[in-house]
Amino acid sequence: MDLLQTIGGYLFTDIRMAAPVLLAGLGLLLMNWSGLLNIGAEGTMLIAALAAVAGSHYFGSVWMGLLLAMLAGAVFGLLFAVLTVTLRANQTVVGAAINILGLSLSTTLNRVLFGVETTVTKVDSFKVLEIPLLSKIPVIGQAFFAQMPIVYIAFLLVPVMHYFLFKTKPGLNLRSVGENPRVADTLGINVYRTQYLATIIGSMIIAAGGAFLSTGLLNFFTEDMVAGRGYIALAAVIFGKYKPAGIMIAAMIFMAGNVVSNVLQVAGVGIPYTFLTMIPYILTIVALTIFASRAVAPASLGKPYKRG
């Protein structure tokens, strides 16, 4: 019974830790299926994390924080779309720029808004929402049904996104743009509009992931707090073979590394903690080297499209 409880506890942590990576991955997925390769999830999450804290601080509501974060994400998405779709700039370079912009802008704004102090400004954050009855199921009840609302949203997005991509007309049209924009164009699809929409909405979903870091997992902002989760999300998309369920599994596997590292740190196994915190990243690299070549990316991913 004790062991089962421990496992339940691990599962609880894993699901909670996986949520932001899952959100970022799903946002990226939407963009990837429109043919755009955005490596800027890290920067988008960072600015969103700050916006969430600011929104929560000034409006006194964590939901306002989330809204502000998603707005910030939309602006970053728009920026990416203007540069890569309309101006056809190199997507990787723009993505890298977005990361740098997100890091520096969030750092600067944080110091401007909250000062350079050793004590952080704590804000209203997401509360656990227990689902009646279901949360009482032994072992898995707490893990699955006693999470914060945004975690439920993240995991509910998986089937929603799957249905959208593979069962609806707009989903088919989006995928055709990512596979071959010329074909989509000749069949009357507005390629540029599709890419703009996918980027803006995708960035907003990524931003929700960022907001969860600062107002869900924690209740304050620290500089560079995303700590590579944006890149892990990139890896999760590839590992998950560009499918929502795959990304979910990938996010949970990568973040299980995080759980393991936490457990080992607490247990005091004598390995320096800096090495232990590497585990999720090492897991990502290993998984990618093994599975990346087998992933089936949308055929036109990363290639700019020019009409006519």
Binding site: K167, K169, P170, R175, N180, R182, T186, L187, G188, A299
Partner: protein, 522 residues
């Protein structure tokens, strides 16, 4: 069978090229109308205008008597015009049904109704005698099946006029048979088919009427029953070829290049061959012309001979070495020069100066500088001399290649390659897109090289150029040599027939269409 479509006085001006020059073209309902012409005759441009991809510079399109204007492929499709492109517009990772449903706006629901669409597809396919599995992933289908999918896709979207752009170019003979049957089934149901081709046999076989294009203008529209294959060949290639042979100074010398059984497979080996068992010789002081419609293996042949591509089998002996085993650098260092087919993509580096472009081929040689340093003043001197010798019009040797006219760009390539004093010169489309003066100049350069005893391989699709310059001509068709002739001993008809896929032996035996021609019988 009334007139369903009229295109009147269609002109299309591309930068520097008038692709369609006042073309009038009309199609009757329910007929197969062939559009015949060589590469660059303007067939594809005309059809791209019809299906909404290009906008005409001037002219009018009338559909069932009503003037229409298309701004996109979708506009044309909504008026019932569907085009099956040479390169399929299909997404290989999706199923047949999904491919047909992309961009579909029918019905109010956002849900994809795969079942209903699949049922409709199956129905369509059955009605016109095609076999199609709507649930198959397109990438797993054969080329012939993909083409069928394209046709069904067009029908699914309501096409009444079907444009097929060189549909048999990618098919095996058996698949082509099946396609013809399908076309017949479609016209039996009052569909109209426009069939673009440069293959005479199939035009003769499948079409009701034929419109022949040459250099952007209509040569004529005829009932197919009024035309023999020879007539078609003459119409397509043109009567006005001048055969004034270029007087030669020297007799042809010894064998320089000896190509034996050269073959090149496609990447997937069962997809047939790009080059099929080619055997020929090039002598010193001889121009060997390689003729044929574009895309019949000429580019691959040149790439194999210059080491850019690895041949699958065979040999090309030159000075006791097999060129097929050597790298491009090694081949070039044995006095081989290459004038590539596309001066802007592979001949020159456009954003570099002429001086730099002149140094590209031999920059590593001692005469160009010491160790890793280039002797720039020497290179400049050399460039200035070449610019003078070849009368290249440029403000300075430091002008960027991209700022020169096409003719002068080509002269830069020719100057660079000829100044290397080659023994073997491989020139591909050396005069493509040039004005008359530049063409003349480059022809004289090639003749000059021949008279110096250089062996020249001249690949060209310009019949006139090939007939005028070559000592012997090999005609390529789908990677095979149809025959080897001397310009003085052949006719335009014969060349046209070979370019259309008949072997010289067959033609000379008088076997046209598999039956002895009548005049030979007598």
């Amino acid at each position: 069978m009334g007139v369903i479509l009229e295109m009147e006085n269609i002109c299309k001006q591309f930068p520097g090229v008038l692709a369609n020059d006042c073309i009038c073209f009309s199609v009757n309902e329910g007929e197969v109308h062939a559009l015949l012409g060589e590469n660059g005759a303007g067939k594809s441009t005309l059809m791209n205008i019809l299906c909404g991809l290009y906008k005409p510079t001037s002219g009018e399109i009338r559909l069932e008597g009503e003037t229409v204007r298309f701004n996109s492929a979708r506009d044309a499709m909504e008026r019932g015009i569907g085009m099956v492109h040479q390169h399929f517009m299909l997404i290989p990772t999706m199923t047949v049904t999904e491919n047909c449903l992309i961009g579909d706006k029918e019905g109010s629901s956002v849900k994809l109704d795969r079942k209903e669409a699949g049922r409709r597809l199956r129905e369509l396919a059955e009605r016109y005698g095609m076999e199609i599995d709507p649930d198959a992933v397109v990438g797993t289908l054969s080329v012939g099946e993909m083409q069928r999918v394209e046709i069904v896709k067009a029908l699914f979207r309501g096409a009444k006029i079907l444009i097929l752009d060189e549909p048999t170019a990618v098919l095996t003979p058996q698949e082509a048979r099946a396609l013809f049957k399908m076309i017949r089934a479609l016209t039996d149901h009052q569909f109209t088919v426009i069939f673009i081709s440069h293959k005479l046999d199939e035009v003769k076989e499948i079409s009701d009427r034929v419109t022949v294009l040459r250099q952007g203008t209509v040569v004529g529209t005829h009932d197919i029953d009024d035309c023999s294959i020879e007539d078609l060949a003459r119409l397509m290639v043109g009567r006005d070829i001048y055969f004034d042979a270029v007087t030669r100074q020297q007799p042809i010398g010894d064998t320089l290049l000896d190509v034996n059984n050269l073959s090149l497979h496609r990447e997937k080996s069962n997809d047939g061959k790009l080059l099929d068992d080619l055997t020929f010789e090039v002598h010193e002081g001889e121009i060997l012309g390689i003729a044929g419609v574009d895309g019949n293996g000429q580019a691959e042949l040149v790439e194999c001979l210059t080491g850019i591509r690895k041949a699958s089998s065979g040999e090309a002996l030159y000075r006791g070495k097999n060129l097929l085993d050597l790298s491009t650098r090694e081949i070039m260092s044995h006095d081989v020069s290459h004038i590539p087919q596309d001066r802007q993509k592979t001949g020159l580096v456009m954003p570099m100066t002429l001086v730099e472009n002149f140094a590209l081929q031999d920059y590593y040689k001692k005469s160009f500088g010491k160790s890793v340093f280039l002797d720039w003043s020497g290179v400049e001197e050399r460039s200035t001399k070449l610019i003078q010798d070849f009368s290249i019009k440029t403000p300075s040797p430091y002008e960027l290649a991209q700022n020169l006219s096409g003719g002068n760009q080509q002269k830069v390539v020719v100057a660079r390659e000829i100044s290397r004093q080659p023994q073997l010169l491989i020139a591909m489309h050396p005069t493509r897109g040039l004005d008359v003066g530049a063409v003349e100049y480059i022809h004289n350069q090639l003749i000059d090289q021949r008279d110096k005893g250089v062996g020249v391989v001249l690949v060209s699709t310009e019949m006139e150029e090939i007939m005028r310059l070559s000592d012997r001509i090999i005609v390529l068709y789908e990677g095979r040599a149809m025959g080897c002739v001397r310009p003085s001993e052949t006719t335009v008809e014969e060349m046209g027939l070979m370019m259309g896929g008949r072997t010289l032996d067959d033609i000379r035996k008088g076997r046209v269409n598999g039956t002895p021609a009548e005049e030979k019988m007598m």
